[in-house]
Symmetry: C2
Subunit: 99 residues, 2 copies
């Protein structure tokens, strides 16, 4: 159930929420890193922001359906929902990330 | 000088501002219409929102560099800065508008 709660569904992929999430440069940097590297723990991004701000950014990304998270011990691991996003909004991530 | 003031420059095209502007469904509908039809007056979109809200949305679009406006008599005519946006963020409008 915990996994269920932390993982968005494809129906969650609303374009407004996705664009809103990607409009922030910190969140974009998280998405870029996940696009390059796959699974990264929340603490592994080297972000120079408070833990509560970091948690906020991950929540926005998760609620927009851009990332999913799973718990492993005391870490939370993040993955970009690349296939789902590309299927729903073809070319969007490519354009935003300048790939 | 009036035209200068109402027209953004390519330097204004900041990705965060552009995504923020496109994150709103009303503003996206304005951009979609301009992409299809070319120049449209502010009053020509059939938007069921107050004039002040409409003015606000056009200001956000203009400040993000997505549209430019010119005055003609008592009308304000809007154009999508398609070439500039496509040059700066290839594929972005296409992806957002689902073209």
């Amino acid at each position: 159930m915990e996994t269920q709660e932390l993982t968005g569904t494809t129906a969650d992929l609303d374009l407004s929420a996705v664009l809103q999430a990607l409009a922030d440069p910190v969140r974009r940097s998280i998405v870029e890193r996940l696009a390059r590297e796959g699974e990264v723990p929340c603490g592994g991004f080297g972000l120079t922001i408070s833990k509560s701000t970091r948690t906020y950014h991950f929540r926005i990304l998760r609620e927009a359906g851009l990332i999913e998270q799973r718990e492993e011990g005391n870490r939370k691991l993040n993955t970009l929902r690349r296939d789902e996003i590309d299927a729903r909004f073809p070319g969007l991530l490519e354009a935003v990330l300048g790939e």
